[in-house]
Symmetry: C2
Amino acid sequence: MNDKVRPIDVTTVQERVYQELRNALFQGRFMPGEVLTIRALAAALGTSPMPVREAIQRLVTENALTQLPNRTFQVTALTLENYDEWIRLRCEVEGYAAQRAALRAPACVCSELRKINKTFERAVEAGDSVGMLQGNQHFHFAVYEAAESDALLKMIGSLWLRFGPVLSFVQNVSGSTEMFRRGATVHERVVAAIERRDAKEARFALALDIRAASSWFRLHHFGSAGASQPQPAPRQGRH
Amino acid sequence: MNDKVRPIDVTTVQERVYQELRNALFQGRFMPGEVLTIRALAAALGTSPMPVREAIQRLVTENALTQLPNRTFQVTALTLENYDEWIRLRCEVEGYAAQRAALRAPACVCSELRKINKTFERAVEAGDSVGMLQGNQHFHFAVYEAAESDALLKMIGSLWLRFGPVLSFVQNVSGSTEMFRRGATVHERVVAAIERRDAKEARFALALDIRAASSWFRLHHFGSAGASQPQPAPRQGRH
DNA sequence: ATTATTGATCTGTGATCACAGTCGTTGGCG
DNA sequence: CGCCAACGACTGTGATCACAGATCAATAAT
């Protein structure tokens, strides 16, 4: 019977709405601070408000959306005050993931990572801004998947949700090419560290990548004023 | 007019349900693997099913509850396979919080921490098992609050949610007194490190505390061997 | 006596409705 | 001309209902 019909999607409508909103946030299709209404989303998604409100509540729990005192929802806007806070958290958690990947990843993933980074580099040289963002994201998550921890991967995905809207803002800023080009170099450094199982260096290099990109973002997003440099050196975890 | 009436709770019913369930999980009032039904909870809480399902969905996104393929909900049961995974994550994240606390905390919080730890020690010596758990939790979160990061605090709370049910299981295991007594000693080591702003040592000591407690828990919860015993909760779920 | 089937009951899910707030606009009054 | 009040069009929230799938139990058939 398997040759006659194929399995269909049996997931909940609410789950699909959640995934759709998540993807949209990831790809920066929403602006930071943008107001979302349940009914409008329901109409756009072609469902009733019911699944949408549950999906929205889940995103609020993840801090991807914020509920104002008016009880209206908006895409969480990173302020200058808590921007560095989030970046440092990312350095810790994603650095740990890289460290774990260096200890666990089989050798074959390194060539895979290099291939992904090559695609990323091509997008950079071509000036394809959406390709850059996607390539960068693709590389990072390939590393995190190599850490082989569902819990960790989920946590990182939750962290990235808050930066998706920021990306949308940076898409059309000139000068990003140079920044991404340096990023590709650091990526190679990460892969090399994973290849020789140097967990400490993998962690440092990945945190460096985040820190470099974040300071560039901060400069163009908030302006230079008040910009405090994140911690001078990454702290190594002990085991 | 302020002297005639006092402010009342204007939060959403859904929010209150969420907090109530969260507290219940924190305090280990639910068994790992216990099955929860929306209607039963709604009746127990005195509301309609509507706020409950939203609260439950939020807890599912936090991995505090799990939705089976049956689409029924159960309190997430930590298996031997992913137990260590969660513990290592906790060591990283909570260790980072301790490190941050060491760098930021004003001196006055150290005396506060010592006071909390003293209360904890008294509960240990008195053999008050719920007092031990509460005291331990109280101390840890006092440290994490000293890190002064809402995002971090929320993330840690989310991590602890999964260990609440485990605590309920360990409450009536003999020999916990000795374990907690050692914990109080390590707590003191954490405070000392924070006091002299030794971030590295604070991180190490706090991770040590988690690791020591977790290996003790694992021994009594899963048994010494790799064989994981069937979950202590009722029946349900053959999938 | 044992197995298979059917029926009742309970599960989550989605839609719809009612309601109480909030916001913006428009109308009328000073 | 400017300000304020009232109205109307939104918002999220909670309750209720209808329905499909799953579970369990009792009954019927072998």
